[in-house]
Amino acid sequence: MNPILTALPILIPWIGALVIMGLHRTRVIHGVAVGTAILNGIGTLLLIPLSAEHAQLLIPAGQFWGTWRFSPDSLSALLSLIAAIIGALAVIFSVDYMHGTNSADLKRYYGLVLLFIGGMSGLVLTDHLLLLFFFWELVALCSFALIAYYPHNPAAAAGGVKALVITQIGGIGLLIGILAVGGTAGDFSFKALHSSALTPTLKAAVGFGFLIAAAAKSAQFPFHSWLPDAMEAPTPISALIHAATMVNAGVYLMLRFYPVFVDLPGWTDCLMLIGVVSVLMGGLIALLTDDLKRVLAGSTISQLGYLFSAVGAGAGAAAEFHLLNHAIFKGLLFLGAGAVIHALHTRDMGHMGGVRREMPLVFATFLIGSLALVGVPILNGFWSKELILEAAVSHAPGWITGALLLGVGITALYTYRMVRRVFWGRAQDRAPVHEAPLGMKIALITLAGGVVLSPLCLPDLGVVITEVLSAPVTLLALGIILLGAGIGWLRLPISLSKGMLQALDRGLGLTPLNRISVQLTNLSAEGLRGLHTGVLTLNLAAVVGALTLLMIILLVGGAL
């Protein structure tokens, strides 16, 4: 196959986004967006044969940049496929969700979504550190613009800025690491990281810089507080960017560079520690909030914590598998929640209840997603979560395994609580609702099918099944799930005191930390505002002065 096909997952969505910019009628915009997204899904499927034959797309880019290499392997093909397929389903879902939006806003929405899908594929396909950074920041930018999609909602604007600033802080770690590698090894390809020119100290700095970047991107402790606030975005965006794809970029970075940094002292321990704390903290956030989307956000933090722990424990394959499964069932849960929110116009679970009878299909698919999240047998979440737990038993300290098992119980508890409050009970004082429209149904049913069938993608399914079923930790985990759900069934007063709730909402003292960084950024921006004199002559004088200085430096440098 022609290796140029590797560029399709990047180019198809971007071309679609450009086409959409030139359209005016809303129906045409919806149609083109859906068509592009589906075409992109088909184009991305080509990555499977391409990665099997180790195709390489090489673009010579001059002396400084070296060669831009796009080379799909199984990991990047997997992530690119997740971005393309969940992206296509989110776009199909959006046709109903964004119904009635005016064409200017709709263009902005679909343009950004398609730009994001292409950027995400580029991020995982590239083999060039500077391009990796470019795509890394590109998806952060799309995420920011889509969180702040409703600009008149102050919470949305604040959430967008918060997400952008916090992921930027991580981006600095990535950039420093990349520049250190490029400066020392003189090469920006991924091979440069294995170069012998890197001293152990430098390698440690790069490794932990990458770790900070990954934790910030994947909303892991201590950078987790941006994800719940990002829930102001339209719900398909939450499903696509903040559950299935962009937050996985951090895990991708860790998986990709695990062989490079595994020997760094403390690096894997740090990874596991971050993961375990995030598992528990995300679970608590999900347990103690009344906002349906924030429950799912907390759950995402918690599940990504499992991925980080798994990578730290050296179970890369289990992490990849759980990443795929999490993308599917969390995308399903978010889209189901979106259907409920779209019908009820509220995200507060206190105002839901009894939706089960009015929206039976949404209920059925949401229930499947929830059971997969909890890890009930046969559904995909069960297999991958047990694999991670098993890896933790054999490779991680005992207390980490214990904390992960505790996380399983918390997951069962908050999921039970969420499903009960949304779908059971009596309808509170609300207008009656109807079943979700067709586009939403298509997306939900497809994802629910994926939840059941995705384990079949595993090449060695039989081995996995015997391995999981024979491990004692599986029984223990199932027992803990029953215990968690049982506590939920007892309806213990887990709402706790108001004070504790607020403390948790503030991220247990970590939100101030994040806020300080945001304020520092604002402060420096305000400080630089003094340079905005707006006087043309002054600015010109500065330009001339800078040019003169540059000339002097060049002249002196040439003389030396």
């Binding site: 905005h532 004199t533 043309l536 010109l540």
Partner: protein, 101 residues
């Protein structure tokens, strides 16, 4: 003095006049005129540099390209001046600052 040296001195003088003009003039049209003076100095310098290197053809063709590009720049600047005058009622560049607090 040989010819290229004279040309370089002339170019320097023109660029200097243009520089002072851009930095001191407050009328947008005058800024445009000063920029043009500066660019003409650059053109002379380009041709002179070509001559000094014995590649007068290269210098002249570069100058021709710069001339074309520069003309487009001048046209855009003048068109912007017209718009600025329509919108703000003035051509005084120091009165046009909206970013300042």
């Amino acid at each position: 003095m040989n010819t290229p040296a004279v040309a370089f001195v002339g170019a320097l003088v023109l660029v200097g006049i243009g520089l002072v003009g851009t930095l001191t003039c407050r009328n947008l049209i005058k800024v445009a005129v000063a920029l043009q003076i500066m660019m003409k100095g650059v053109l002379i310098a380009l041709v002179a540099a070509g001559a000094a290197q014995g590649q007068i053809n290269l210098g002249q063709s570069l100058a021709a390209i710069v001339l074309g590009v520069d003309t487009i720049g001048a046209v855009i600047l003048l068109a912007l001046s017209v718009q600025v005058r329509r919108r703000f009622g003035t051509l005084d560049v120091s009165a046009l600052s909206q970013l300042r607090r």
